[in-house]
Amino acid sequence: MLTVNQLSLIRSGKPLLDQVSLSIKPGQLTIILGPNGAGKSTLLKCCSGALHADTGYIHLEDKLLTDWSLADLAKKRAVLTQQIHMPFTLTVKEVVSLGLAPWRLSDDQANHLIHNTLVEVGMADAEARIYASLSGGEQQRIQLARVLVQVYADPHPQAAKYLLLDEPISALDLHQQQRVLRLLKTLTQKGLGILCILHDINLAALYGDKLVLLEKGKITFDSEPSQLAQGKQIETTYQADLIRLSHPDTQLPQWQFKQ
């Protein structure tokens, strides 16, 4: 389990995170929501070990996050940041294979794994293409594949693994959004713990096991999506005029503009 305890971070007088506590459990898709500048990416960076908070603790399993070595951490969790520009002419296969850096795999194993993962993200025939020549959405799926091989490559798959994803579907079309979210759902069923930042509240309510609503660095909601069927948390946090509906299949709350 990844547990965040009373985390606060102040930069140039402004609190980016204010007493944030949450836990990311294996087998759960935890989705962070919040308006622009609410501190979503900052929280994700803290959870991945790239940023150190001023006060508070993060534990990964039974150890402080800061006590993990970079090499061990790379075998325990993978992180997808927002769009990555690559100035050199690497092929898709070469980019994805970078995710295998923490592991030692034979060429055969690596090729097999990379191919299967590219199939999963719908880029099966792109192996030999130049990464920089792909569209933004395609690049995003290639980076997702790179992050996925990093957790797939473990020879001991029973150990708990975590994925931290910063807006993994921001550049994808509808079909690909559904494909990726379904994939994440399948992965949690296999035991992965996933923390994911999304902008779309409807998709978050539909796919998330747990939603965390962040506003000005503070958590204003942390529970199952169905708990949002009452109350006005979404409307007040986003300060938008919305109508709440109920999804016909799942009865989960969904929102529409009042126009």
């Binding site: 990555i84 970078l98 850096a101 130049i130 020549s133």
Partner: protein, 342 residues
Amino acid sequence: MGTMRHTQYSHIPYPLLIVILAMVGLFALTQGAYSISWKEVLLSSINDIDKQILMTVRLPRLLMAILVGAALAVSGALMQALFRNPLADPGLLGVSSGASVFVGILIVINPFSGGLPLWAQSYMQSIAAFLGAVLTCWLIFQLSKHKGQVSVLHLLLAGIAINALSGSATGLLTYLSNDEQLRALTFWAMGNLGGARWEQVAVVASILLPLLCYVWRQSKNLNLLLLGEEEARYLGLDVETFKVKLIAIVALCVGVTVAFTGLIGFIGLMVPHLIRMMFGADNRIVIPCSALLGASLLTSADTLARIAVIPAELPVGLVTSLLGGPFFLWLLLKNIRATHSC
């Protein structure tokens, strides 16, 4: 840029590059003010005079060209990975000229005034050049970093400023030096492999060969840097330590080559770029292939410098700049077009 990797050469990089180096090397050994038949060299049935020329002049010079060319090309590839920019080059960014100022100071001030044996003087020059190179590398990095990212604009501007500053410092040193020092300075500053003797080849090889091997072993980690520093950390690389190591290696490579052969520009820019165009950007290929092609390119340039105006000789730095200047302009234009079409 094509959307697919052009793979017509990519399965044979090493044999191709080794054959090129062998041919260029043989040409360098046999051509010059005094010609030696290549058949004799290959069959090692050469007469005493030829043997004398080969062993005392041409062979050490060839080995020096190979070592220096390889080191310059690899330092270029390293800086490009470090700055995540294909336009980074030790000469262009002022590392070489920064190093040359320190060697200039050593030549003019000469604190040991000739009391040292030749090999010790060689090492002294290397150390001075190394210090100069480290200082400029560090300066460039600080100047060009903006919000954790290295900006190309700042990078090139820092290069211009440092090159200008070094130019005026070298000018000042020229003004201060006496006739003998002036000759040593001018001769050395233009870039020349003519002074290569076995002792110097030994010193250069003892420093550069271990470095090149180390860099080759690190090529996987260099690939991680291409993703960005944050991503490389997530994949387990201790980026801060690695960057310090890379800067030290570039500074050592540039320092040593500048100390022994003066300013030879553009090898580090041209060679890795050509390799990437032919064989792709994977540093596991780029590093060793750049070393081979850099060796071939500098050997060719040096041979050209020797045979262009027989019996005189052109400085090899002049030849590489004549080749590299237009190449850089072409690269810059191509980059600008690519940015605009995005």
